[in-house]
Symmetry: C2
Subunit: 132 residues, 2 copies
């Protein structure tokens, strides 16, 4: 199931913060209370609560209904949706590295052909171009 554009907006927006990503990192190993989540950060409880609200609105966490201890739990589905969206571009980052060098050389007008005869032919053309 593809994520809706609104869900992707909310997911990517929630992930655009190092504290929120660290909170998800902590929740990946199991549920935790706000106090437990706040401990590793030099941050006030209201500040942490604000981050939790963003994560909750984005559907990246759920919170228990227990009045005193409302444990936070990670919901991985929106992360899956974001990952699937990015996956469309995989061929680009895998191809690009191979072609990037060639492309940059072309832009700079260098010759990148490295096969026997072609190499020789290209070199003389290159020298001619430089004389112009």
């Amino acid at each position: 199931m593809r994520s809706s554009p609104d869900q992707l907006d909310a997911t990517f927006s929630a992930l655009a913060d190092p504290t929120r990503r660290a909170i998800l990192g902590r929740l990946a190993s199991g549920e935790a209370s706000v106090l437990e989540l706040a401990r590793p950060f030099d941050m006030s409880l209201p500040a942490i609560s604000k981050h939790l609200k963003v994560l909750e609105r984005a559907g990246l966490i759920t919170r228990g209904r227990e009045a005193q201890w409302r444990p936070c739990r990670l919901r991985a589905q929106p992360l899956k949706g974001a990952s699937e969206w990015l996956e469309q571009y995989r061929r680009l980052w895998e191809e690009r590295f191979d072609r990037l060098g060639d492309y940059l050389d072309q832009l700079q007008g260098k010759q990148t052909v490295d096969r026997g005869k072609d190499k020789e032919k290209e070199r003389s053309r290159h020298d001619r171009d430089r004389k112009d």
Copy 2:
């Protein structure tokens, strides 16, 4: 190479907008000018330029130096970084679906063991618990 926290902030923030995601989708099939990018959107050129600036700052596109026609090109590396960050959570979204049903049943106090003898044993314990 892992993306830095700042790079991840910039990438996720840039991706949190449907127009910017659509622009990247268009550029995945090749470079394009601002005019070409603006065409499918009901949006002013300055509005599109603003989105392009966000994408450029995040390193998701580069722009040619040609004065008149400054073609935009996709840079896939930050997308790779974001994808790798999400990849850490894959086991969660793959495991969760299997365990979610069991977990919900446990929360509701139901027995979910469905193996021969265990099933029988569990049932009698369940009955005993109910009498308490």
